[in-house]
Point group: C2
Chain length 362, copies 2
């Protein structure tokens, strides 16, 4: 493998830091803008040469874009599947750009620019997907940084723009602002109190939508939801960001209320359930990915409810991302089979939890 | 509560010591003789006064019976239900003598004599049930000690005996030698490899039978079986003891072979399963009795397979007995409800395992 993770500023995942507001409930806030470079066909219709020219043009602009200072350029079209999957596990690239389904390699020109402030996908569904992540609940902060990046990059690269429709995108649902604002949020309280269906229904009525941990097409596992705006046309970027902020603030309150109800009505049942999750993570010898996610969800709730101490949300965030298959394969230096990955995952989780508790792995 | 456990030599449970042969598989070996005192009606038909006279006669003989030196006399007819249940949990008295089903108190004259060598139930189904336990696989040792006790006590108290039928007992199935030889044996390997049905069938063809952890009418939980002789008439005591020894030796070999097969064919699955059992015992906040038994069974197997170190069979034996409801109630100083007992059981198990691992409970 050739991917050198040390080249990535903060590993590309400063948003794991659990440093923002409500970081035990909201893992991260994200703004992405879909942009295309004027004068080229959209990625899916572009020929190899066109995509490579798009990439060259962006690359050439980077030194003049302050938000991308120190950015690493990672060519997905030169990587193995495991390496591309690892970048996807870190939320730096989409499943599509990483070509994880159907295709065996990424399309030529597929790349991602990773700075400590942002990750820019090149030759995804659109030529450019500008992404800014923030730890915790900070849509406003992400929005400001993304707007700055957009302005800077747009000053160097001519965007495809229509005075009536706004930014032009490959898929019409993105046309207009091309913006998607989202939060990655952990809602075990609402799931356990069975309030979640009502809450999700409420989101949809307000033009928002939800997905699983890995966005479009991914299942909800471990009570992690990605909540985002559905529409991008007919509203300003500010409005979209503000609305999401307002709605998510309300969802956080509902989650906190659900947790209070749980503790009040089923305290010892919950406590038992969550400690069992910890016990399994702490001692299992084989952990399938979905089970690990669900157990980590339980332990995260236990930490949030202060039933379990001496374990940081930061560590839990890292476990969530770094215990995934491609990470384990990269650590092992070869592609692991599923059952090998389950063993490696259990070992990784055990060691991290033991070390956090100041113990030897046992 | 009035039961003072410190009066019991070795707590009445020296057989927990895990000191005998094959102690990781065979918890204990037991010999019991059913005897009745000549001149009185069998217990079930005796009037209160008769039973009290039987008790008085036995009590009066104790000082002249070397095997009962230092014995504590415990009157079940003066005890609370929890206290009687505790003696049952220690295998010192039968469910019947402890009157744990149907009746609310023990029949008058119901008692047990507990020395470090033996436990003699008085006014059970028969006037006397002489029991000798040995730790591990030691039917021969138990048989010698029981024979000695029987001879000593029979020299002081006139047994009901018929020259043709042998010792007379309340239930005809016991008549003859009045002897039951049994082992309490842990067979998780045979259960997991699904060989157990065949093995149990084999036992029955040889005139042996099996029961659960608490003998007649108790269910098999945690892969603990009581294997004993079925018939008592028409064979000498020696023959019965020898036959059980031979058969159990073969069952131990089969269990060991099953464990080898498990490790060979499903090593990491088994290792994972058993470590998860440990993790749950180590961290759960509520443990129902049956679940605790099953998890302890798993951990016991893990210790036997040397997958888990730093945990003694002795500790596991104690957990098996001392984490039961009456023990937990006695420790709490009041009768616990089932859900209170589940909490107390989890706490007890956690503390013992943490202390064994040299850790604070967490």
């Amino acid at each position: 493998m050739t991917l050198d993770l040390s080249l990535l500023p903060d590993g590309g995942v400063p948003w794991l830091a659990a440093s923002g507001e409500h970081a035990d409930i909201v893992l991260s806030s994200r703004i992405r803008f879909a942009r295309n470079v004027a004068g080229y066909a959209f990625t899916a219709r572009a020929r190899d040469g066109e995509r490579l020219r798009v990439l060259a043009q962006v690359r050439e602009a980077v030194p003049r874009v302050p938000s991308l200072v120190g950015a690493a350029l990672l060519r997905l079209d030169e990587m193995t599947t495991i390496e591309r999957q690892l970048l996807h596990e870190r939320h730096l690239v989409s499943k599509e750009l990483a070509a994880l389904e159907g295709a065996t390699e990424a399309r030529s020109g597929a790349a991602v620019l990773v700075s400590s402030a942002a990750a820019v996908m090149v030759n995804e569904e659109d030529h450019l997907r500008l992404q800014v992540f923030r730890s915790g609940f900070d849509i406003g902060g992400a929005f400001q940084a993304a707007t700055k990046l957009d302005r800077e990059l747009g000053g160097e690269v001519p965007y495809a723009f229509h005075h009536e429709f706004g930014f032009l995108t490959s898929c019409p649902t993105n046309t207009g602002t091309g913006m998607r604002a989202s939060v990655l949020i952990h809602l075990p309280g609402l799931v356990l109190t069975q309030e979640i269906a009502k809450v999700l229904q409420g989101l949809q009525q307000m033009g928002l939508t939800y997905r699983g941990l890995y966005g479009e097409g991914s299942e909800v596992v471990g009570n992690f939801f990605q909540i985002s705006n559905q529409t991008t046309m007919g509203r300003s970027e500010d409005e979209l960001a503000d609305q999401l902020t307002r709605v998510v603030r309300r969802v956080i309150e509902q989650e906190e209320e659900a947790r209070r109800v749980l503790l009040r009505d089923a305290g010892y049942i919950i406590e038992d359930k969550l400690w069992r999750a910890y016990g399994t993570l702490r001692h299992a010898r084989s952990l399938p990915a979905d089970e690990a996610m669900n157990l980590l969800s339980g332990v995260r709730l236990a930490v949030g409810l202060q039933l379990l101490s001496g374990l940081s949300v930061y560590t839990l965030n890292k476990l969530l991302i770094f215990s995934q298959s491609a990470h384990l394969s990269l650590e092992a230096g070869r592609t692991l089979t599923e059952s090998e990955a389950n063993l490696a995952r259990a070992r990784h989780v055990r060691q991290v939890l033991a070390s956090e508790a100041g113990l030897a792995d046992r």
